[in-house]
């Protein structure tokens, strides 16, 4: 059973990342829960969600001691670094979060997602780049599953945009596989 937190500002596509990942994992045949922050927790411009993926029954969908965190801004790093499971991994959007981790029992993976997105010509795929990196590193699902999940969710999206999303995923994954992130 693995818990992953996705966190950042509202508008960074954080909830979408988690949602797509959850659907992908469900279609892979895993047990899955997705819990968004809601209501007043969302005021002040932050957003986060927790996805639990497991091969057995999931008891609690909440983000106490997550194993992974995909962090899109500094306040989220502050919030989640402390509660991570020992040995956990934090994926950082390094264009927004410059500081280092303070815990040494965690691994950090830094992805310059904004830069990469700019290369692809659209800042809207920052979240897909992060998700691609996350999937490539954790191997909890495949990029194909993610694309399937995405098309299930955003049904009538233009092919060109879907293509862009795919390229975002690919570039994020590539970045990991090439080992640039260490």
């Amino acid at each position: 059973m693995k818990k992953t937190v996705f966190a950042g500002f509202g508008g960074q596509g954080v909830l979408m990342m988690g949602y797509v990942f959850a659907v992908a994992a469900m279609r892979d045949g895993r047990e899955v829960t997705y819990l968004p922050a809601y209501g007043a927790e969302m005021r002040g411009g932050t957003a986060n969600c927790t996805v639990v993926v497991s091969d057995e029954e999931i008891f609690s969908p909440v983000s106490s001691s997550p194993d992974f965190a995909v962090i899109m801004n500094k306040p989220s790093l502050v919030k989640y670094e402390g509660v991570m499971n020992g040995g956990g991994t934090i994926f950082l959007n390094s264009n927004h979060v410059s500081r280092e981790l303070t815990r040494d029992d965690l691994t950090s993976i830094r992805i310059p997602a904004v830069e990469i997105a700019k290369e692809l010509g659209s800042e809207r795929v920052v979240n897909m780049i992060m998700l691609g990196a996350f999937a490539a590193h954790t191997r909890m699902t495949s990029l194909d599953s993610i694309m399937n999940g995405l098309s299930e969710i955003v049904k009538d999206t233009k092919a060109s945009i879907m293509k862009l999303n795919r390229r975002g995923l690919d570039r994020g994954a590539e970045y990991i596989l090439k080992g640039d992130s260490r």
Binding site: G39, A40, R43, G45
Partner: protein, 247 residues
């Protein structure tokens, strides 16, 4: 000599607002606080915040504040004012709070002519709960509970509570203003001043309805929201003095 000509008013605490960027609530908070300061009533004012985005108003206003259940601000304020008739009591309410669940309390408090002041923030939606239709949502306006926009036949038309309140005898002053431009903000402050003065003079129920941007739920930028108030909201809710018996 350089002089400080604009700063945080005395009766707003030094806390950052939790409101979204471009939200009208905090502008209105500031105006109310300025008026309280200018009228010298800060030490004897009691405010009643609503359930709504302004539920945390007590974290901002530096006067005594007592929370009301959703929609019941006027009833609660009545209780306070009747016990302490020489204090200044205001109730701060959203359009859902005042014109949906609180319709009855509002109308009857007004009709009794309770000597209180109501600040009615009309942002054409339920802000706090995430953008559902409010009684004041415009026809055609999108909300999370009006698929395809508000439809007169299915959802009913927007309701003009202030006009209705003008009909009851206990109200002495009702004005609709807005905070979407400098001019309107200044007029709003004048209206709030008049409303509080009516209370200080013991004349009866006063209310200022303030058109206020909710960029988040309108899904617009702050500046577009301000424009939209001019272009659309005011078509349904024109700015005007609806009732003035202060003389």
């Amino acid at each position: 000599m350089e002089e400080l000509v604009f700063t945080r008013p005395r009766y707003i605490k030094k806390a950052p607002f939790h409101y979204c960027p471009g939200c009208g609530h905090s502008i209105i908070h500031r105006l109310v606080a300025e008026v309280i300061e200018e009228l010298g009533i800060g030490e004897k004012t009691i405010g009643v915040p609503p359930a709504g985005c302004a539920v945390l108003a007590y974290d901002y206003f530096d006067v005594d504040m007592g929370e009301a259940p959703h929609g019941r601000g006027p009833a609660l304020a009545t209780g306070i004012k009747r016990i302490l008739p020489d204090r200044i009591v205001f109730s701060y309410q959203g359009d859902g709070d005042i014109a949906a669940i609180g319709t009855s309390e509002t109308i009857h408090t007004a009709n009794r002519g309770e000597n209180i002041t109501v600040i009615f923030v009309n942002n054409n939606c339920y802000g706090m709960t995430g953008g559902q239709m409010a009684p004041t949502t415009l026809l055609g306006q999108n909300s999370t509970t009006t698929p395809g926009g508000r439809d007169e036949n299915r959802d009913g038309p927007p309701i003009d509570l202030s006009e209705m309140l003008a009909l009851v005898r206990g109200t002495v002053y009702i004005e609709r203003t807005a905070v979407n431009s400098i001019r309107n903000i200044r007029n709003t402050k004048k209206a709030i001043t008049k409303a509080f003065k009516a209370q200080i003079a013991g004349l009866g129920f006063s209310l200022v309805e303030i058109l206020s941007p909710c960029p988040t739920n309108w899904k617009m930028s702050s500046t577009d929201s301000c424009r939209w108030i001019d272009e659309s909201v005011m078509q349904t809710f024109p700015l005007k003095v609806i009732k003035d018996e202060i003389g």
